[in-house]
């Protein structure tokens, strides 16, 4: 049996890879690429979401958005949301992961407990917080009011509503981050840790110079995911405040939803979605660029 020349062997092997990846490519094209292209096109049209015809309006939807204070408010809220989520849950999760990593017993139990809010449906979590905590009639807030405390739900105040919703989302999310960080921490080579300890490194120094460099790729990946998800956040906002009061918690996603399904302005909603997607894409591009740079180094 004659053997194929090396260049042909390589070509056959490459063809095999392409064939194997074909189903994923076709699937992505149908469920991601085609709808994405349609959304991009719709952003330049006036369309009520029902009519088969879309009227081309060029950049008008984007001009409207530039003058739209609700869009600007939503953009600012998304940026605030991102800043909150790349700091508070990350710090809390990192602290608890480092703490649990040192537990000789019980760390699995803690992991399961921390994951429970993440595994519950957002509607369940939202109902728990709305009715059992924040409700002035049957919740903890109402109970404290009856005891004479001067307390109201944070969701009712323009200045605190965003942080009230963020608190609920962080409550649901930080346990998941903890588990991810813990898994990364546990991959740190034991000999490096032991060596540092024998050299007399303090707990902080072990974390800073041994653990952190080892878990850095995971931290960076989660950072990018948090940024992307922060620009797409929808469920907890919609369930807890629907963007209110008076747009104080409006996000690009909730504004796009209302614009599409209440006002039947699907073209403008597509333009909002496009802005949202572009902002999230920056984080993805940054991560890809950084990962490639790191691999080359």
């Amino acid at each position: 049996m004659t053997q194929l020349p090396a260049h042909r062997q390589k070509r056959v092997r490459t063809l095999g890879y392409h064939l194997l990846s074909l189903p994923a490519v076709v699937l992505s094209a149908f469920v991601v690429l085609i709808p994405a292209l349609q959304t991009i096109y719709a952003a330049f049209t006036e369309w009520n979401g029902i009519s088969p015809e879309k009227e081309w309006v060029g950049l008008r939807n984007f001009q409207e958005l530039a003058e739209d204070w609700i869009f600007r408010q939503a953009l600012v809220n998304n940026i605030k949301w991102t800043l909150i989520f790349v700091t508070i849950p990350v710090i809390v999760a990192m602290l608890s992961a480092v703490l649990i990593a040192h537990f000789r017993v019980g760390h699995k139990t803690f992991q399961v407990i921390y994951l429970i809010p993440y595994l519950l449906a957002p509607t369940t979590n939202a109902i728990i917080w709305l009715n059992i905590i924040f409700s002035p009639t049957g919740g903890l807030v109402g109970f404290l009011q009856k005891l004479g405390w001067d307390i109201t739900s944070p969701l009712g105040n323009m200045n605190t509503a965003l942080y009230g919703v963020a608190a609920v989302d962080i409550w649901h999310y930080w346990g998941f981050l903890t588990v991810i960080y813990l898994a990364a921490l546990r991959q740190t080579p034991v000999d490096q840790i032991k060596a540092a300890q024998i050299e007399g490194a303090s707990g902080w120094q072990v974390y800073r110079y041994v653990y952190l460099p080892n878990i850095a790729p995971t931290v960076r990946l989660m950072f990018v995911f948090i940024v992307i998800y922060s620009f797409m956040t929808f469920d907890y906002i919609y369930l807890l405040t629907s963007g209110g009061p008076a747009h104080a918690t409006e996000m690009l996603s909730t504004y796009a939803y209302t614009t599409a399904f209440s006002a039947f302005k699907f073209g403008k909603a597509a333009a909002i979605s496009l802005a949202m997607g572009l902002l999230g894409s920056f984080a993805a591009f940054f991560y890809t660029w950084f990962s490639r740079k790191e691999a080359l180094e």
Partner: protein
């Protein structure tokens, strides 16, 4: 011990996930029990699988209300003949699902909508049938109150029929009023005096809230603008007689903000109370009154149980500068016929039944507050056997129907404003919260309204009599 703990917690987690998998089993459904097909969708299994199915979607009310409409509407229709079966699917997101289903030509035969602004969009795209022939065949125009009938037309063509009519007014708890020595208000001054007294006592002056449903802003703002501004303001703006940003409209919007900022609308808890919780505060004596549409009686039915239902009283909302009672009216839903249906005649027969006093009476018996059918015959419906909140609903309707028919009504935004305009109007809480001025708000709404008027999306309106 560690393994046991992990096992127990894992089992607990697994149990929380199981309900989501519950509908994937292969066991045939029980024919009498509702089956959850996907999240937020409930449909009862078919009872006559050999018949042709006529489908209808509806929003997702409490289970007892779902059962009641199935008994009254499907029960009547399915027993009236042996060729078709009417089935109802309850969808929590029906307003979002319906336009998508229509666009995909996969919608039910009878098209539910949360007001004529939705059906106007469907009609413009030719997705629902012109019902003029059926209207003539069944005499709907003579039967239905003019203000409701006209709202369902476009360019002289009827595209839907109204579901329940909603009448604005003041609900109060008779026990609370007796305890405080209050009389039902007949003027705005009397109403304000009660609200101030309630506020001083730490009560909510008005039971109100928009938690979970921002369009509730319409209910309270509409009542204030119509009754403290002028009942003609919305009519004049919608018909193009005036713009939306007249000084009178700006002043009326500002009055609504003044009421909110004075704490009349549930104090600091407006965004923390949903409609059910708001009515519960009325029941608990924590609120003085509820300035709401009769739609809220369905929530009262969940709070005022048994004989407590007799504690609920109603008075029309007083109007500044008018001695006559004027009613803020809207329709809670309307129904059209899918242009793709094979069963248009049967659908029309079902809609015709839904426009009878018999249907309205039967529905009100089991679902008070929602099904005040806007047909003139309701004035003569014998409601003597009704009790509690069903009786209250019928009393309100029979008290108001002649006045409304005579033109003493004012328009409620959610039913009479086109989609983009009403979406802008629902932002009235931006004025209440001090984010926008009343002038800026009225200019924003006016821009949307002029655009909608130019696109022919405002339905024809019956002119008020005053």
């Amino acid at each position: 011990m560690k393994k046991l703990m992990s096992l127990l917690l894992s089992s607990a987690l697994l149990l929380t996930l199981l309900p989501a998998c519950g509908s994937t089993g292969t066991t045939p459904p029980d024919t009498s029990e509702p089956t959850e097909q996907e999240e937020g969708v409930t449909k009862t299994a078919r009872q006559y699988p050999d018949r042709e199915e006529i489908t209808m979607w509806f929003w997702g009310p409490a289970p007892e209300y779902q059962e009641h409409i199935q008994d009254v509407l499907c029960g009547w229709y399915n027993e009236s003949q042996d060729q078709y079966e009417l089935t109802i699917e309850f969808r929590n997101t029906v307003d979002v699902d319906m336009p998508r289903a229509l666009a995909a030509h996969n919608a039910p035969d009878i098209v539910y909508a949360s007001g004529p602004s939705y059906t106007a969009v469907y009609a413009n795209e030719g997705l629902v049938l012109d019902l003029n022939d059926y209207a003539e065949q069944y005499g709907w125009k003579d039967r239905v109150l003019g203000v409701m009938y006209d709202a369902c037309t476009l360019d002289g063509h009827l595209y839907s029929v109204p579901g329940g009519m909603v009448i604005g007014g003041i609900l109060y708890n008779k026990a609370t009023f007796e305890e405080k020595g209050w009389e039902p208000p007949t003027t705005i001054d009397e109403m304000v005096a009660i609200m101030d007294e309630a506020k001083a006592e730490g009560m909510y002056p008005l039971a109100a809230g928009n938690k979970g449903w921002k369009p509730c802003n319409d209910h309270f703002s509409s009542m204030i603008i119509n009754h403290l501004g002028s009942p003609r303001l919305f009519y004049d703006a919608l018909t193009g007689n005036t713009s939306f940003n007249t000084p009178e409209m700006v002043q009326a919007v500002q009055t609504s903000a003044d009421w909110f900022q004075a704490g009349y609308l549930a104090g600091n808890d407006y965004v923390n109370l949903d409609s059910q919780e708001a009515i519960q505060t009325l029941k608990d004596g924590r609120s003085a009154m509820a300035m709401v549409p009769t739609l809220y009686i369905q929530f009262a039915a969940q709070s005022f149980l048994g004989e407590e239902a007799d504690q609920v009283g109603f008075v029309p909302m007083p109007t500044v500068g008018m001695d006559e009672d004027v009613y803020d009216v809207s329709m809670n839903c309307n129904f059209a016929i899918n242009a793709d249906t094979k069963y248009a005649d049967e659908c029309a027969k079902i809609l015709d039944y839904m426009l009878t006093a018999e249907f309205g009476g039967k529905m009100t018996e089991g679902w008070p507050g929602y099904w005040a059918i806007p047909v003139k015959d309701m004035a003569n419906y014998d409601a003597s056997s009704m009790t509690g909140l069903s009786k209250l609903t019928m009393d309100i309707l029979q008290q108001a129907i002649d006045s409304i028919d005579a033109g003493y009504f004012c328009l409620h935004p959610s039913s009479f404003f086109p989609s983009a305009t009403v979406t802008a109007f629902e932002d009235i809480d931006t004025v209440w919260q001090g984010v926008m001025t009343a002038e800026q708000f009225c200019q924003t709404v006016d821009a949307e309204l002029q655009n909608d008027i130019a696109n022919g999306l405002v339905c024809p309106l019956t002119e008020p009599a005053y």
